[in-house]
């Protein structure tokens, strides 16, 4: 069993508050992805969990035991770094064995574990090579092997795929998922790539400016974003957000740009100003719907099977996904969105209503 719990973890670099009271529960055997834009503090959070960085305040617990004060060697965690960080003067065997040697594992056991990992990751033929004699994908496998051989309680991965080319990234991503299923180990994976996060994770924790803004399964965070940040950060193209005003007397929303279209709503925003969100794939080219907008196609971006259209609805830019060839630039169309696909956010706080 290896459960990790972070409570009110904060960290400052000088005057800059990098982590602001972060709370996160990671369950046994779970693959938790921490997703966020560059500079949001996700890698710092991972370094604090590993013990490479000290935390300013807060608690880190592994299986109920506080480990925040322990040096990295006593935390029983292994880490894969963004740039692999293989020791250049050691060959693959020595790289994998190094952590075990430092933990005083017997020579016999080291040999068994290195060979076991080499077979698992198909790197037996590379054992005598130095890092500089290998390709990016091979180095990545070795970095994974170095972590696996340790048999750690928690496996930390800091953007391990970001230095690989697109094809290799897909391949290694699949391998990580298989490996997680096979080993059943608790993994914390940090990335800024939403596609990686959605495809790999059991749950995603989304970070923004040092805070975790939402934790949930990929479906939950995608379909029920709790803030406008999550709504726009996930999805490509991102969610459409339209300004609206809430009329308490009729319990309805009026679009701000023309004031005309009226939407009945059950939720009550705290302030009249709010934002209505909907994803491009939920925009239908139909006459009838809960939210109906008229406009003309401004830009078309074919992606192969689909196309993304930017539609000008009387000064309002709406992104929509359609079939390739379904629309043409300049064509006047009517868009309809069903109410179950509409999200209402408070305009001031950005929180879901």
């Amino acid at each position: 069993m290896s459960e990790l719990r972070l409570e009110h973890v904060s960290k400052r670099f000088g005057r800059n508050l990098v982590l602001d009271r972060v709370n996160l529960d990671i369950r046994d055997g779970e693959l938790m992805v921490i997703l966020g834009p560059s500079g949001c503090g996700k890698s710092t959070l991972l370094s604090i969990v590993a013990g490479i960085e000290d935390l300013d305040s807060g608690i880190i617990c592994l299986n109920g035991q506080s480990i925040g004060h322990l040096p990295p060697r006593n935390r029983d965690m292994a880490m894969v770094f963004q740039n692999h960080a293989l020791y250049p003067h050691m060959n693959v065997y020595e790289n994998i064995a190094f952590g075990l040697r430092m933990h005083k594992v017997s020579a016999e056991e080291i040999r068994t574990r290195v060979n076991e990992v080499a077979v698992m990751l198909e790197i037996e033929h590379l054992l005598k090579r130095k890092p500089r004699q290998m390709s990016g994908g091979e180095r990545q496998r070795v970095a994974m092997g170095r972590a696996i051989a340790r048999h750690p309680q928690i496996f930390l991965l800091d953007e391990p795929l970001s230095s690989l080319d697109a094809q290799l990234r897909t391949q290694i991503r699949t391998e990580i998922k298989k490996l997680h299923a096979k080993l059943g180990i608790t993994m914390v994976f940090v990335t800024h790539d939403q596609f990686e996060a959605m495809t790999l994770s059991d749950r995603i924790a989304i970070m923004d400016r040092g805070r975790i803004v939402q934790v949930g399964t990929p479906d939950e965070v995608y379909h029920h974003p709790m803030t406008t940040f999550v709504a726009t950060f996930l999805g490509n193209p991102s969610m459409n957000l339209i300004s609206a005003r809430y009329d308490a007397s009729t319990c309805s929303l009026h679009l701000a740009h023309d004031g005309g279209t009226v939407l009945p709503t059950k939720s009550t925003p705290p302030l009249p100003a709010c934002l209505i969100g909907f994803r491009p794939e939920h925009v239908r080219l139909e006459e009838q719907g809960d939210l109906v907008l008229d406009g003309s196609v401004d830009v078309l971006e074919p992606t192969g099977s689909d196309a993304f259209a930017l539609i000008d609805c009387h000064g309002l830019a709406v992104k929509a996904r359609c079939s390739n060839g379904e629309l043409s630039v300049g064509r006047r169309i009517r868009l309809a969105i069903a109410s179950e696909h509409l999200h209402v956010f408070d305009a001031a706080s950005g929180n879901r209503v």
């Binding site: 370094s47 590993a50 013990g51 490479i52 040096p71 990295p72 060697r73 965690m77 292994a78 880490m79 770094f81 963004q82 740039n83 692999h84 960080a85 293989l86 020791y87 250049p88 003067h89 190094f98 952590g99 430092m102 933990h103 130095k130 890092p131 500089r132 004699q133 290998m134 990016g136 180095r139 170095r146 340790r150 230095s163």
Partner: protein
């Protein structure tokens, strides 16, 4: 067009080669003359038409030097002083450069600049203060004061040299080693020293050569043959008041240069970049 470009390329190469050859000859010329002179019999050194190489080569000057009773002592002193200087420089510069590159503390930039500033004082200006210093501490004519004097020149440059190597050092390796279970000493031993081998070798060779060829301090801060290094020792033994034996002097110079050349030949393969290649990305 292509052949014209090719011609320009060849011409550039030829000019570059001639330039390099010219500089090499210019630098090596005094050494070649000294080497040639060391094999000349006395009468041949001051001929009307000077020659580079001897007509009748002889080993007389070398035999005379090796028979000098002080010679082994000078050689030993030089080895001890240069070796210890290099060792201290390696340890101190490695730690200082690591700190100056990777840690944050107030006044870091100022300290970096001050370290380099110390190198800007000509050695001659330091002779008298160093003499007083040694006299007060009763360190005149000792290994310690010569090592101290050599360190004051070798260390600043070595710190800068090593800091340059550290700038290319991937800090992730230290993080990886910490996660792998290393304590700070194990990180230095297992990761930093092996990866920094080129920087360490360069700093070591530089300091060794600097201390080995140092002449001014050895001349002024030593009183007896007990601590005199070979360069100053040869000066005392060979430079007479009325006459200088240039055959002996050039032979001694050649002998002095040999250990440095051997050391450089043995270690130069380590002073190559690219050792960290492949550790990242």
């Amino acid at each position: 067009m292509t052949s014209y470009r090719r011609m320009i390329q060849i011409l550039t190469q030829v000019l570059l080669f001639c330039g390099v050859l010219g500089v090499t000859v210019l630098l090596l010329f005094p050494a070649i003359v000294a080497f040639g002179t060391s094999f000349k019999p006395m009468g041949e050194i001051f001929t009307q038409t000077p020659t580079i190489f001897p007509h009748e080569p002889t080993l007389a000057a070398y035999k005379k030097i090796f028979c000098m009773p002080e010679f082994p002592r000078f050689l030993l002193n030089s080895f001890i002083i240069s070796g210890l200087t290099a060792l201290i420089v390696i340890i101190a510069a490695l730690l200082a450069a690591y700190t100056l590159t990777f840690t944050r503390f107030p006044g870091k930039k100022f300290i970096r600049q001050m370290i380099l500033m110390t190198y800007m004082f000509p050695a001659v200006t330091l002779v008298i203060p160093l003499y007083f210093f040694a006299h007060r501490l009763d360190l005149l004519d000792s290994y310690q004061i010569l090592i101290f004097a050599d360190l004051s020149f070798a260390l600043p440059i070595a710190v800068w040299l090593m800091a340059g190597y550290f700038e290319k050092f991937p800090l992730e390796l230290v993080k990886a080693a910490r996660v792998d279970g290393c304590n700070p000493l194990q990180i230095i031993r297992h990761i930093i020293i092996p990866v920094m081998k080129p920087g360490i070798t360069a700093a070591g060779i530089f300091s060794f050569i600097l201390a080995w060829s140092e002449y001014l301090f050895s001349l002024t801060l030593t009183l007896t043959d007990e601590s005199r290094t070979i360069s100053a020792g040869m000066h005392y033994c060979l430079m007479g008041n009325y006459r200088t034996d240039y055959g002996l002097l050039t032979a001694a110079s050649t002998i002095i240069v040999i250990p440095v050349v051997i050391l450089f030949a043995l270690l130069q393969k380590f002073i190559v970049g690219g050792l960290t290649e492949g550790s990242l990305k």
